[in-house]
């Protein structure tokens, strides 16, 4: 009841906002009639007309006073004051459109960049995975026996033991990494190589996802004797099959075998990686024997914890199982000895986490700098209007009104900046999503209510920071001094100048931190790009393919495919050389193999050694310019079951044959068969960011793992633009086998670019932020100095009239401006020394306290700041004393 009454009253008071004059007039009439009644009564009581009127007014308590009280009750005075402030603020801002625009743009950049980064961080790192009860999902790892790989992938046999013996999980699933299929063209379509995940049927129930159409695998699909089944991703279904649901239960051909399409996953689902286009049941795809291996770590395993079981408990149980297997196979050094786990979210976003947080911190720095810029602008305005404010204050203007006027002004600026920033953030996000398709969960990025709240928070925060920082000086005890000060133009109060210099020092400090961060990342990126892969990278084109096992079951089929492909490619006019290899340098880890040296004493039990394993054709080393240091390359004529040969890399020879000639020795590897070492070649890196590791090469034309290898990268080298061979190369493959698709058609430079994308992306963005803040800081410095010079013009005039040298004045003003910059510089260097620790995991070949960067940034900064100070200083030294003294 009483609530209804106050609501009714509120409505009334709100509506009083309109027709004010009419309402005022009405009340004036009412009061007038009141007075007349009273006067009449008084006259009747025998007073004189004057006394009657005076008494009536007195009794009323003042005519205007009553009107004001009545007005306050009629409307909402706070609201009206706010509107007045808003109108006033608008007018003030429009009066100096230039600086207003500068501030709004600065704020928009700050708010826009922070919003975009926050959205990314929130969507990628903070939002839970879209799976059922994601907190209970964990990724499982093996801890290798030599402790070198605490988070190693899982061997199929170990997973089998976990599945059979552990009790801590309600579901466990295994996925093979990096599976690929040739998807044959139907009715005239081109064949295509698609990224796939071979998974146990339990993957979908473990994650708790349902297909959009059809069904997922059942246990009966997931065994060697089953018919081939496949689940398609939404993207592949839309793109390749036109989103036609009649594809369900139809057959498609993968690697020349027939598979029934049983389901389509929803569009958001792409586990375990963004590139996955289809899923097949792993126990159907792999032989039963391959799913019981204990020492080949090829699989990804995940589990769903049972309610009430902690991750640590469940992992401890898995560790016990692994330990038992380890103890049962002491002769095999590659059986792990423990298990490890990570929450699934951490696992999915692990790589990108640090760089995203660094970028978010950088954008917040930019925002802070923008706020400080706004604050110094407002301080300047406040200073210019100091006299006016002081007079208003002296006449009884409420301090709160003065302060709120200030806050409203900065709120207006921030709101405009925020609105513009929102558009900017939207554009930045579009760009980000388009550029970084490689980041997992990038599809989850979108702006939602929480982001909107974040923006609102940013706007209010920046208004508060800017408003409060600039208005701390509006306090009562200053009224008098302000009046005195402005009564005669001399230098502005020391306090106010000190405040602005403090703001400037902070701006410069933050800029220094950003510049140093950007410098470190840039230098690191430069190191990365200039590090030597160990082979020729100019004008080399690569493309990958794999021969379907069914269609190319015979070793001789594979050999003849490789031979004729190389022959035809080499015959293309303009080709310098061509080669086949398992993976070119920089293309990734690809695979390794354990080995023993036949001529060396056996290793102690439980110890093992392994090296990266590659297969290549005899011409590979010459083709890619990898130097043959000793011995020779593979026998050109060696085929299938010729004598076993191996070529080792320089670091292999150095590490395992110190002071020995490795040529002629034998490695026991790939089924413990003896391979004779025929040559030593230069080191190459498997990824650009890591030093070369020992590597062994086997001839591609011979039987290695029971057959001739069926997958390879074709590398083509030319003296001219090699990209022009992409189409002819693909055509040659198609001529040999129309069903065979090639993938990853990339030049070596693109390959390297891809693997350094993270580094270049981080460095570029951070550099952009740093340049932006340098610009903001120097504009701020320039503005403040110009203002100080303008304020001091009369004083400078007096000094000049008294005989001061112009050079002296120039120096004076320069020092005035440089002092806060230097203070900020010192602050920034100290801050950077602490903050760059956060960067260390992103740096390659650069220390967080790199001397060049820490020396270079101050020089750059002082140069820019010096220029920003020079113009006002020069202007100060050019002051004409006569004009200056007349300045008032």
């Amino acid at each position: 009841m009483s609530f209804m009454r106050s609501m009714r009253a509120l409505f009334w008071r709100l509506s009083a906002f309109f027709r004010k004059q009419q309402r005022d007039a009405e009340f004036a009439a009412e009061l007038e009639s009141h007075l007349q009644f009273h006067i009449e009564d008084n006259l009747r009581a025998g007073m004189s007309p004057e006394a009657a009127r005076r008494e009536a007014l007195l009794k009323l308590g003042g005519f205007e006073q009553t009107k004001k009280n009545y007005r306050d009750r009629r409307g909402l005075p706070e609201l009206e004051a706010l509107f007045q402030d808003l109108r006033f603020g608008f007018r003030m801002l429009l009066k100096s459109p230039g600086s207003t625009a500068a501030v709004v743009i600065a704020l928009a950049l700050g708010i826009g960049a922070s919003t975009a980064m926050f959205t990314v961080v929130r969507s990628v790192l903070l939002r839970p995975l879209p799976f059922k009860d994601p907190a209970r999902l964990v990724r499982l790892y093996e801890h290798s026996a030599d402790d070198k790989f605490p988070y190693n992938q899982v061997a199929s046999g170990v997973f089998k033991a976990w599945k059979n013996e552990s009790h801590g999980f309600s579901d466990l699933a295994i996925v093979s990494l990096g599976a690929e299929y040739n998807l044959s063209g139907q009715s005239g379509q081109l064949p295509e190589k698609v990224r796939a995940a071979e998974c146990s049927w339990s993957l979908f129930p473990t994650l708790g996802v349902e297909p959009a159409l059809g069904r997922t695998f059942t246990p009966s699909d997931d065994q060697p004797s089953a018919n081939g089944t496949v689940v398609l991703s939404w993207a592949l279904w839309k793109r390749r099959f036109g989103g036609d649901s009649s594809i369900l239960n139809q057959k498609i051909r993968l690697d020349a075998k027939s598979y029934a399409v049983i389901g389509i996953m929803p569009s958001w689902f792409t586990y375990p990686e963004q590139r996955v286009q289809l899923w097949t049941p792993v126990y159907h795809e792999q032989s039963a024997k391959d799913m019981e291996v204990l020492d080949s770590h090829d699989f990804l395993a995940i589990g769903r914890l049972k309610p009430g079981v902690t991750e640590a408990q469940a992992t401890a149980e898995l560790s016990v199982i692994v330990r038992r297997l380890h103890d049962q196979h002491l002769d095999d050094p590659f059986v792990s000895k423990a298990a490890n786990s990570l929450p699934l979210l951490d696992d999915v976003v692990g790589d990108i986490k640090t760089s995203l947080y660094v970028l978010l911190a950088a954008t917040l720095c930019v925002l802070l700098i923008a706020c400080l810029d706004v604050a110094s602008l407002l301080v300047a305005r406040g200073a210019a209007r100091r006299k006016e404010l002081a007079i208003r204050s002296a006449l009884g203007g409420s301090r709160w009104r003065l302060l709120s006027e200030h806050l409203v002004e900065s709120l207006l600026l921030s709101a405009a900046g925020g609105g513009l920033g929102l558009l900017l953030a939207y554009a930045a996000l579009q760009w980000f999503v388009a550029t970084r398709q490689d980041i997992s969960r990038i599809e989850a990025i979108d702006m939602d209510a929480i982001v909107a709240a974040f923006i609102l928070g940013l706007v209010l925060l920046s208004a508060l920071v800017a408003g409060i920082a600039s208005s701390v000086k509006i306090s009562g005890d200053q009224v008098l001094s302000a009046l005195q000060e402005s009564s005669r133009s001399h230098s502005a109060g020391l306090e106010r100048v000190r405040l602005r210099k403090g703001l400037l020092a902070m701006e410069v400090g933050l800029t220094v931190m950003l510049l140093i961060g950007a410098g470190l990342l840039l230098k690191s990126y430069g190191q990365l790009r200039s590090s030597n892969l160990g082979c020729v990278t100019d004008n080399v084109l690569t493309m990958r393919f794999s021969l379907p096992e069914e269609k190319y079951a015979q070793p001789s089929q594979r050999v003849s495919f490789f031979e004729s492909l190389l022959e035809r490619v080499r015959a293309l006019p303009g080709i310098q050389s061509a080669a086949l290899v398992r993976a070119v340098p920089g293309q990734g880890y690809a695979g390794d193999s354990g080995f023993w040296i036949a001529e060396h004493p056996p290793l102690p039990q439980g110890q093992g050694q392994y090296a990266l394993a590659r297969w290549a054709d005899p011409g590979y080393f010459a083709a890619l310019g990898i130097p043959l240091l000793r011995g020779q390359t593979f026998d050109e004529k060696a085929r299938l079951d010729s004598p076993l040969q191996v070529i080792i890399s320089e670091s292999f020879a150095r590490q395992y044959f110190p002071g020995e000639d490795p040529i002629g020795k034998h490695l026991l590897t790939i089924g413990r068969r003896p391979f004779q070492i025929v040559g030593v070649v230069g080191d190459t890196r498997f990824t650009i960011a890591e030093a070369a590791r020992p590597m062994m090469y086997f001839p591609i034309y011979t039987s290695l793992y029971g057959n001739v290898p069926n997958e390879a990268t074709l590398a083509i080298r030319s003296s001219r633009d090699v990209t022009s061979f992409a189409v002819p190369g693909q055509k040659l493959v198609e001529q040999l086998d129309p069903e065979l698709a090639v993938s990853d058609v990339l030049t070596m430079d693109q390959l390297i670019g891809k693997s350094t994308l993270d580094a270049s992306f981080d460095a570029t963005l951070l550099l952009a932020f740093a340049v932006l803040s340098l610009l903001l800081a120097s504009v701020g410095l320039f503005g403040v100095l110009s203002y100080i010079v303008a304020q001091r013009t009369p004083e400078i005039g007096i000094r000049l009239a008294l005989g001061a040298q112009r050079g002296q004045l120039l120096r004076l003003t320069l020092v005035d401006g440089l002092k806060p910059a230097v203070a900020g510089l010192v602050l920034g260097l100290a801050g950077a020394a602490v903050a760059t620790r956060m960067l260390s995991s992103l740096l390659y070949g650069v220390q967080p306290l790199d001397a060049t960067v820490f020396a270079g940034v101050p020089i750059l900064l002082l140069a820019v700041v010096g220029i920003a100070c020079l113009l006002p200083a020069w202007r100060a030294s050019r002051v004409d004393p006569v004009i200056a003294l007349r300045y008032e």
């Binding site: 009454r5 106050s6 009644f37 009273h38 009794k59």
Partner: protein
């Protein structure tokens, strides 16, 4: 000052309502005058304070106003009780009496020995 004003405001509203109930439609001056008279001169009232109080009651829907003409042919704004106002008066009178009774009991309590 704030506390006293609040109490005053509350009782003033009650007095206004009672006055309008007793005398029927009345203008602001009449209300102020009547309140002062009824108090027997114990209450010294700034007549001006009656108007915001009248406005508040009108905003809350307890009274309504209308321009009219007085006995001696003077234009004035007349206030009268609404049905909600009558109910409010009843309720507040009851509340007030109750509070008074409680306080009276309280204040007349003998000090325990």
């Amino acid at each position: 000052m704030g506390d006293k004003a609040d109490v005053w405001q509350g009782t003033l509203a009650l007095m206004i309502l009672k006055t309008l109930e007793t005398l029927g439609p009345l203008h602001g001056y009449g209300v102020a005058r009547r309140i002062e008279q009824t108090s027997g001169g114990l209450l010294s009232l700034n007549y001006g304070t009656v108007y915001p109080a009248l406005l508040k009651l009108e905003q809350e829907g307890s009274i309504e106003s209308e321009w009219g003409v007085s006995d001696n042919n003077r234009k004035a704004k007349y206030y009268k009780l609404t049905r909600a106002g009558r109910k409010q008066l009843e309720r507040e009178t009851h509340d007030w009496k109750q509070a008074q009774a409680i306080l009276a009991k309280f204040l007349s309590a003998e000090p325990s020995t």
